[in-house]
Symmetry: C2
Subunit: 461 residues, 2 copies
C-alpha cells in the first residue's frame, strides 16, 4: 500500500476525534512521525553497514548483539527512557525493561511494547529496530500529551534476538520464558571468536543486570502483556494490498539437520552403479521435501548444504550435510511433513549405486503458538479505526519472534507492517515511512485500547 | 585378484622361459619384486602423511609438487638413474627425462616409461608413484641382466600431474604437448600462497632446466613412445576379477560450472509461490543430470556445490554454484548429455515459485583419446603371457593422465592394475604387492616387446 500525500495525511482523520474509546480503537493520540523517522535513522549510525544507495538511509545494519555499537544504542536508549520518567531495569541477560507509571499506581506487571535493537550482520534498519523505536515514540507521544495509561506501560529491549553473533535466536526472551537455561545462554560463544561468550560481553558493557531473567514476580520482571510491532518479513501484506497485519499466532516449525554419508570416489573411474554419492542423494531428498510440503500446503526449505572443503569437480563427495526447515500453522501438519520426508529419504538413500546412509537430528522444535485473543482484539480495533477493515488482515507469523516466548507467560500479540518485496535480513530491507508510521500508531492505539480493556475487565470483577 | 603364495610365486612360470620373443610378449626378464616394494615405500618417507593404520606403509602421502619433499625425491631419482648409466635431462617445466642407450645407438627418440612423483594433499602411495618406481625397477632389471633394448629407453617424471598445489592437472605433459602455454603454467600460483609460483619453485629447487618443454626434436625432448603403469582408480578390474587392464584410450569429458541465482528470503515468511530458490533448483538439476547420464550409459557427476557462507537454516539462499562432470568414451555422447542437461535445467529454472536464472561456463573440454594400436598390442601380448587372457581386459581410462597428452605426439598406451575398492586420492589408496609386481612386470615386458616390434618394423622399411 502507498498512502498518498505522505505520513501526515495518513493520520489526518484522527485529528477530528477526541480521546479514544474502547469501542473505536483509536487512542486519539497522534504519534509524531518525523520524530520517529529521525530517531530511527539517526540511531542507525551505530551499526550502519553495507551501503546500497546514495541516500543517507540507504545502508543496511550490522549491529550484532553486545558489540560496541549495540552497547552505544543501549546506553542511548537507557538515557532516552529515563528522560521520559521511566525507571529502567536490566536483568541477568541484559534485557532492558523501561517502565512508566500508570494512573492506578498498580503493582501489576506493566503492559510492554517489546522488540530488539540487534541485527543480522547483513541486516536492515527495520527488523526489531522499528519495534523498539515505535515503542519509544509511543511513550514520547503519551508523555507530551500528558496522557497516562491506567496500568504501568513500558518498553522491553530483548538481548540477542537475532542469534547472529551468539547462535541462539530469541535467546533472552527464551531465558525469560524459562525455555532456555541461563547458563547455556551465558556460555554461547561468539561465532568468530570462541574466547568471547555472551556473558563476558554482558559484563564488558555493564549489562549483566541484577534481577533474574524470568517472568517470576518475586525475582524477575513479569509482564502484564507484550505487544510487538515488526515488519512482516514476507510478501503477503504487500501482495494483498494490506497495510497492517494483525498477527494471531506463529506457525509451528521444526529444524532438522541431515548428514548423508557416501564414499569419495573418482568421477571418471567409478561407474554409477559402484557409487555411494551423498550429493546426488541429498539433491533428491531436497527436491522430494519440496514436493511433500506442497502436497500439505506447508513450507519445507533447505537453506544450508555443505560438502567437505576438499570437494572437487572430479571427486564424488564423501559426506553432505543439509538443513530442513518445516513450517505450518498446525503442528500436526509439521509432524506429517517430517514423517513423509523421512520415509521418502530412506527410499532415496537406497536408490542409486550402492546407496548412502544418513542420519538426522531435530535441532529446533517450535510448536505453533496462538496469541492472546484480548491482545489480538485490541490490535484489530486499532487497525479498524486506523485503516478500515479492507486494509488489514489476520496473519500468522512465519518467523520466530520474542513474542512467541512472551506469549507463554503473558497475553501477547503482534502487529505486522509490510516490508518491500518481503525482503528482510538484507541491507535493502525497507519499510516505507507511511507503514512505519501506521505501525507505530497502531502499536500506541492497541496498548491504550488494551489498557482500557484491562482496567474495565478488572472493574467487572 | 589375490595371487596365492605371494609375489614370488606369481612369476614362477616365467622362470622356465628363455629371453623374450615378440610373439610371446614376455621379456624373459624378471623384475625384483622385493626391491620394487622396498624402493617404493622407502622413498615414501618424503611426504608420508595421514597415518590410517599401524603398519609402516599404512599412511597416505602429501608430496605436493615442488615442495621440499618433492625436491628430495627428485634428487634421489636423479641419483638413482645416473647410477644405472642413464643421462638425465630436465626441461623448463622440471620434467625429468632419464635416458639409457640402446644397442642400435640410434638417435631416434627414446621409448619412455613415464608417470609422476607428486601426490594430492590427502593422496596415497601408488597414484603416479608406482608408475615411476616400476619404470626404475624395469631399468634396474635390464641393467643387472645385461639386457639392452634396441632403441634408447628411459623414464619420465612429469611435473605437477596432480595440479593440487598449482591448480592445473597434467600440467607439464600439457606444456610438453603444446596444449598449455608455458608462461601460463609458470605463472600458476600456490593455492595457499599467492606469492609463490610454479616457476619460482622450479628455480628455488634448481629444476628449471635449460631445454624446451616440448616434443620438438630440435629444442625439446621428443619421445618415441610413452608407456605408463598406473592404478586404475576405479573398481572395474577388482569387480571383474582382472589383474591387468590394457588401456585403449581415455574417455572424453567436459567440466561445466553452473551458477543458479535466486533471491534470499525468509523461509518462514515467504510462500513457496513467491520464492526464487536456487538451492531447490540446483538440487533438481543435479538429480536430472543423473537421469540423463543413465539413459546414455554415460557419467554425470556433481562434486562441488556451494551456497554463500552466510547461508542459514531459515534463509532461502541467494545463489548456488555447482559443478557438472560429464564423461563417455565417445565425444558425441558427452555432447548429447550436455545438451539434454541444459534443456532440462532451463525447464527446471522456471518450475518453482517465481523461477531462478542460471548461467554456466565450460571449464574443461577434454575430447576422447584413442591410444596407439602398436603400444596397446605390446601390452596385450605382455598381459597375455603374464596372466593369461582371462585375467586381463581392455579398459578405457576414466581419469586424465600424462599419457593423454603424450598420445598427441608419440605412440602411447597405459597399463592399469587394480586398486582396493577403486579408492584413490585418499590416504588408504592401496595396490597389493602382487598387483604392483604384475604391473611392473607387464610394463617391462611391454617396453621390451614394443622395442622389438619397433626395430622389426624399422627393418621392414
Amino acid at each position: 500500500m502507498q498512502i498518498p500525500g505522505g505520513a501526515a495525511r495518513a493520520f489526518s482523520f484522527n485529528s477530528r476525534r477526541g480521546l479514544s474509546t474502547t469501542s473505536r480503537g483509536s487512542s486519539g493520540l497522534k504519534i509524531n512521525f518525523d520524530r520517529l523517522w529521525e530517531t530511527l535513522h539517526e540511531t542507525c549510525k551505530w551499526g550502519a553497514a553495507n551501503r546500497y544507495g546514495e541516500k543517507p538511509t540507504e545502508t543496511g545494519m550490522a549491529r550484532l548483539t553486545l558489540t560496541d555499537d549495540d552497547a552505544r544504542i543501549r546506553k542511548w536508549f537507557a538515557d532516552e527512557v529515563q528522560k521520559l520518567g521511566a525507571s529502567l531495569s536490566v536483568d541477568q541477560m541484559g534485557n532492558m525493561f523501561a517502565r512508566t507509571p500508570g494512573k492506578l499506581r498498580s503493582s501489576a506487571p506493566m503492559i510492554a511494547m517489546g522488540s530488539h535493537l540487534d541485527t543480522q550482520p547483513r541486516g536492515g534498519r527495520y527488523d526489531g529496530i522499528l519495534g523498539v523505536m515505535a515503542a519509544l515514540e509511543a511513550l514520547r507521544t503519551m508523555k507530551e500529551n500528558g496522557y497516562q495509561t491506567n496500568y504501568d506501560v513500558g518498553i522491553v529491549n530483548w538481548t540477542n534476538e537475532e542469534g547472529a553473533r551468539f547462535p541462539k535466536s530469541m535467546c533472552s526472551s527464551g531465558v525469560w520464558a524459562g525455555a532456555i537455561p541461563i547458563q547455556k545462554a551465558w556460555d554461547l560463544r561468539d561465532i568468530h571468536d570462541p574466547n568471547v561468550t555472551l556473558r563476558s560481553e554482558l559484563e564488558r558493557h555493564g549489562f549483566l543486570g541484577d534481577i533474574a531473567c524470568s517472568s517470576d514476580a518475586a525475582s524477575g520482571f513479569p509482564l502484564g502483556a507484550h505487544f510487538e510491532l515488526h515488519i512482516e518479513q514476507g510478501p503477503i501484506l504487500q501482495d494483498t494490498g494490506r497495510s497492517i497485519g494483525v498477527v494471531t499466532g506463529a506457525q509451528g516449525y521444526r529444524w532438522l539437520a541431515f548428514t548423508v554419508r557416501g564414499r569419495d570416489a573418482h568421477t571418471g573411474t567409478t561407474p554409477l552403479s559402484a557409487r555411494q554419492d551423498p550429493l546426488l542423494a541429498a539433491s533428491k531428498m531436497i527436491a522430494s521435501s519440496n514436493d511433500i510440503a506442497k502436497r500439505h500446503n506447508a513450507l519445507a526449505s533447505t537453506g544450508v548444504m555443505k560438502v567437505p572443503s576438499n570437494a572437487s569437480t572430479n571427486t564424488v563427495a564423501s559426506e553432505v550435510t543439509f538443513t530442513l526447515d518445516i513450517r505450518h500453522p498446525q503442528d500436526s501438519v509439521v509432524h506429517a511433513v517430517q514423517e513423509e520426508c523421512l520415509k521418502s529419504f530412506t527410499s532415496i538413500a537406497s536408490q542409486d549405486g550402492k546407496g548412502v546412509s544418513f542420519d538426522w537430528t531435530l535441532d529446533t522444535d517450535s510448536p505453533a503458538v496462538q496469541f492472546d485473543r484480548g491482545c489480538v482484539g485490541s490490535i484489530q480495533a486499532a487497525a479498524d479505526a486506523l485503516v478500515g477493515p479492507e486494509k488489514w488482515m489476520e496473519i500468522t507469523s512465519g518467523a520466530g519472534h520474542d513474542s512467541v516466548y512472551t506469549s507463554k507467560h503473558c497475553p501477547t500479540a503482534m502487529i505486522f507492517v509490510p516490508c518491500r518485496d518481503g525482503v528482510s535480513h538484507h541491507p535493502t530491507e525497507y519499510c516505507s515511512p507511511e507503514h512505519c508510521a501506521l505501525g507505530t500508531q497502531a502499536l500506541l492505539d492497541s496498548v491504550v485500547h488494551y489498557d482500557q480493556f484491562r482496567s474495565e475487565s478488572a472493574g467487572k470483577h
